[in-house]
């Protein structure tokens, strides 16, 4: 039995030796074959649309001459377009307030749930995360009704108490109202990312501070937060990108307050309107790329600032 096994192994070894040269060539192709489905889709639905948008953004549909190359003309127009800057300015204003509030809450919740300083931690973790499962369209729809001046419960309560009707959907309050919807949707999601990062830190490291008699907030500030700084940075960069891309929530609330949410309320609403209402596809593509440039600049500056702070700390 043993000798037979040894023999067949030797035979098998020879067979492999003989098959290697052909097999190795086949072997070398295998990674590309395995990657092909992803790469084909990736090129078709990511690289190609980006390249196509870049190409059409340097053309213009002229009355005379049809589709002609215009170089950076569309970009120049976008950079001097008050409609574009109005949206960008509004998103900067939105992000300065909404992102720190949302991430601050998420961080506090993550720290509290991770340290086990409360009862029912599983309930809170699940409950805070549930809004993320609600599509942003439905979230905006529900909040739109809650905000409603006629049958929204807040208006009913104010009415009952003899207070003036809160004007959630007015020009002044629309932006905070949208910020509230976004905070509601994404606080739990960001909390889970930070919580997961905290849980991944080895127990000995997390408990090291407690031995020295440090207070819980000192441990949080000087040990636990720096340990998960990369995860916090990740949520911040994604929040900045998401802010500039805001579309679904204002698009749904536009139905309730068309006079407040204009066609250039956010840069993405503007690009959408240019493409599908005005049929200005070339200019719309240039606006999208200009917006992309703004996003890159902001994310880059943000990372530069936070990196420097990290080095100093």
């Amino acid at each position: 039995m043993v000798s037979q096994g040894a023999q067949s192994t030797k035979g098998g070894g020879e067979r492999t030796e003989a098959g290697v040269s052909g097999g190795r060539r086949r072997q070398a192709a295998i990674p590309y074959v395995f990657l092909a489905p992803f790469l084909i889709l990736f090129v078709t639905f990511l690289i190609l649309p980006l390249a196509y948008a870049l190409v059409i953004s340097v053309y213009a549909d002229k009355l005379v001459g049809g589709n002609v190359f215009v170089g950076f003309e569309n970009y120049k127009q976008a950079l001097g377009d008050p409609g574009f800057w109005d949206g960008v300015r509004r998103m900067i204003y939105f992000g300065i307030f909404q992102v720190p509030v949302m991430l601050g809450l998420a961080l506090v919740f993550a720290l509290l749930l991770d340290s086990g300083a409360a009862w029912f931690t599983t309930l809170f973790r699940l409950g805070f995360f549930i809004p993320y499962a609600v599509p942003s369209v439905v979230a905006a729809l529900i909040w739109g009704y809650l905000y409603g001046p006629t049958f929204g419960p807040f208006s009913q309560l104010a009415d009952y108490l003899g207070l003036p009707t809160p004007a959630f959907l007015s020009d002044t309050w629309m932006l905070p109202s949208i910020a509230n919807v976004v905070t509601w949707e994404f606080t739990g999601y960001n909390m889970i990312i930070m919580y997961a990062a905290l849980q991944a830190v080895p127990r000995e490291v997390r408990d090291a501070g407690a031995v020295d008699g440090a207070k819980p907030w000192q441990i949080a500030l000087y040990i636990r937060i720096p340990l998960i700084f990369p995860a916090i940075l990740l949520t911040a960069v994604f929040s900045i990108i998401g802010t500039f891309q805001l579309f679904n929530e204002p698009s749904v609330l536009q139905a309730l307050a068309p006079g407040v949410i204009t066609d250039h309320y956010t840069p993405n609403l503007y690009a959408y309107g240019l493409a599908f209402t005005n049929q200005e596809y070339n200019y719309s593509a240039a606006v999208s790329f200009a917006l992309g440039a703004v996003v890159v600049v902001f994310s880059y500056v943000f990372m530069l600032v936070t990196n420097r702070r990290e080095v100093r700390a």
């Binding site: 489905p37 980006l50 086990g116 029912f120 805070f128 609600v134």
Partner: protein, 294 residues
């Protein structure tokens, strides 16, 4: 749970006190998180007039079944189309995206080949490309090949998940031992068979995570279907409900459409919330490896 060590000099009463305060604070935010859903449930039980005339945050008339019937029979049952479309787009996209991402992530983790580092860097970089920036050019390209207004226009772009590839690479590196693959190679199994019957079994939890994340993304997607579809029979729930809300807000003709929008919204989020609660192990797992690296 017991990671707050008892400190000397702090009485257990203090600790209990802080626990009560913290739990109370978290309960406030829990109420905020659940309030809109509670409002939705309450409102779905009211008829059109009770919706306007009774307090929004408590039950009045009980017309849930009448509302459900109105939702499912509205405009010749178009809501049923939206529900089935959403399920169809989400299931196909999720299964496809999970397969494609799993085999790609496995390849990046377990093979050395030319261009590996560069390709992976490009894929990782593309996570930063906001999906909304792609939608308008995707529409223009799809319209050139007459795929606009077909289910493919929603499904095909949803099959790429660069984040899924990243996740599966990390997962495969951690969970598939090289020895296991080498043993299968010595046994003479081909690479495809090794992936299919050896690696995929080990990768199953990661596969389900990507499946779930893609499913949710497609189920909740609005901008892409809004742009590439204009036949209401092909709409998913998000686009259908938003269009119905526009009609309701604009006066809605003879019928009060608000109960239909509200009850329809409730029906549309139930499957996804149930999926989240039952499969929480998987999405939490996904977010955990996502933040493990870098």
């Amino acid at each position: 749970m017991a990671s707050v060590p008892a400190r000397s000099g702090k009485s257990s009463g203090d600790l209990l006190g802080s626990r009560v305060v913290i739990t109370g604070f978290l309960l406030v935010f829990l109420a905020y998180s659940l309030l809109p859903l509670f409002y939705l449930i309450v409102s779905a039980t009211k008829d059109g007039s009770a919706l306007f005339s009774t307090f929004g945050l408590w039950f009045a008339s009980f017309d849930l079944f009448a509302n459900l019937k109105a939702v499912f029979t509205y405009d010749g049952g178009v809501f049923v189309n939206w529900l089935l479309n959403t399920a169809y787009y989400s299931v196909i996209s999720a299964v496809g995206a999970a397969f494609v991402a799993t085999i790609a992530g496995y390849t990046f983790a377990k093979f050395r080949f030319r261009g590996r580092t560069l390709l992976f860097a490009v894929i990782l970089g593309s996570i930063m490309v906001p999906p909304t920036a792609l939608v308008i050019p995707t529409y223009l390209l799809l319209s050139k090949v007459a795929l606009v207004n077909t289910p493919f226009a929603v499904i095909l772009p949803s099959l790429i998940s660069p984040f899924g590839v990243y996740l599966m690479r990390v997962y495969a590196e951690q969970s598939v031992p090289d020895d296991l693959l080498d043993a299968a190679r010595v046994d003479g199994a081909g690479e495809f068979r090794i992936f299919w019957s050896v690696a995929l079994r080990v990768l199953a939890p990661g596969f389900v995570t990507v499946l779930l994340l893609s499913f949710v993304t497609t189920w909740n997607n609005y901008f892409l279907p809004l742009v590439v579809l204009n036949n209401p029979k092909l709409y998913p729930l998000t686009v259908g409900l938003a269009s119905l809300n526009r009609v309701a807000s604009a006066g809605g003709g003879a019928q009060n459409l608000y109960p239909i929008v509200i009850t329809g919204a409730l029906v549309s989020i139930l499957p996804i919330i149930v999926a989240f609660l039952f499969l929480q192990r998987y999405w939490q797992g996904g977010l955990t490896f996502g933040s493990l690296k870098d």
